[in-house]
Symmetry: C2
Subunit: 163 residues, 2 copies
Amino acid sequence: MTGTTPTVDPPTGIDLRPFARSLPMALLRAREATMRRFRPHLATHGLTEQRWRVLRALTGAGEPLDVGEVAERTFLLAPSLSRILTDLEELGLVDRVADTADRRRSLLSLTDEGRRMVARVAPESEAIYGQIEQRFGAARLDALLAEMQGLEDALAGFEGEAT
Amino acid sequence: MTGTTPTVDPPTGIDLRPFARSLPMALLRAREATMRRFRPHLATHGLTEQRWRVLRALTGAGEPLDVGEVAERTFLLAPSLSRILTDLEELGLVDRVADTADRRRSLLSLTDEGRRMVARVAPESEAIYGQIEQRFGAARLDALLAEMQGLEDALAGFEGEAT
DNA sequence: CGAGATTGTTTCACATGTTATACATATGGA
DNA sequence: TCCATATGTATAACATGTGAAACAATCTCG
C-alpha cells in the first residue's frame, strides 16, 4: 500500500473511490468466494447454479407455482427463467401445465425425477453450507445476512431523488 | 409466512435451507439492489458496469497495465475482458500496445477521450455512492465491507476438505 | 359486447459469465 | 540449439444477464 489516502488521485485529477472501498465490487467478490464452493458440486450433477435455484424453489413450495412466482423466489429475470425452464423440462426434472383458470399462466412442479435429483444434491449442498458457517461463524453469518437485508431495506425506493 | 420453522420441510422430506437464509442469494440481492442505482446512470453514457470497471482500473493505475493485471483488479474473467477490451478500443476509450519486453503481453491505457469519459461519469457515480452511504450509514457500510472481507478471508483456501 | 389497457410469458438482440481449448511467445534445461 | 513446459492472451461453445419488444389471454369500462 502507498499510504492512508482514502481515494486515488490519478493524473487526471479525478476523485474516484478505489475498488477496495466499492460496495458492488465487495459484494461481487464475496459472492464469488462463496459460489466457488458450490459450483463444482452442482456441476457433478449436471446442474448450474440457476437451475438448482429453480429446483429449490419448487421443492420448498409444496404446490405448483406459476412462472412469475418462481422468478421472484429465485431472483431470476423472466428471459433467463424462460430458457432455464425449457431446459429443465427437456431434462425431465420439471413439469409445466397450463393453468385452467388463467390460460396465460403455466404452473410448474417437480417431476419424480426432479425430486430424486433434489434428494441427491441437497445433502452435500447443505454440508458445504455448514462448512462455510463453521469457518466464518454461525452467529457472525446471521449478523451479516441481517445487515445485507438492512442494506436492501435502506436502498428500497429512493428512485428519483437525484433529479 | 407459515411459522417459525427455520427450514422448509417439503413433501419429499428433504431438509433444505430456504432462500432467505442462503448466503449466495443474499449477496445476489444486495448487489442487485445496489447496482440498480448505478446502471441507469452508466447507461446514459453508453457504458456497462463492466466497461466502467475497466476504465476505473486504468484511471487508478496511473501507468499502463497488462491484461492480467486489469483482470485481477476488475474481477473480470479473461474471456469477458478480452471482448470488453475490443469494444473499448473500438469506442476509442482505451489504447492497447504490445509490450516490447514480452510480446505476449499488451499494455493498456486510457486515451484522452477515455479520460474525458471518466471525468464526465465519475462525479455522479460518486454522488450516487454518497447517497447510498448516507442512507445506510457510513460507519455501518464500513463495517459491512469489513465483514465481507472477513468472509473472503475465511473462505480462502479450504478446497479439498470434503473429500 | 368490444376496443383499449393490463398482465403473464416468451422472444430478440446484445453483453457477460464460465469452462475448456487454442495460440503465440518465453523460459529452462538436455 | 532445440524441445518440453510454462505463461499471457484470445477463441469457442454454451448458459445467463439485461432491456426492449412481441404475443396471447384477461380485464375494464363505455
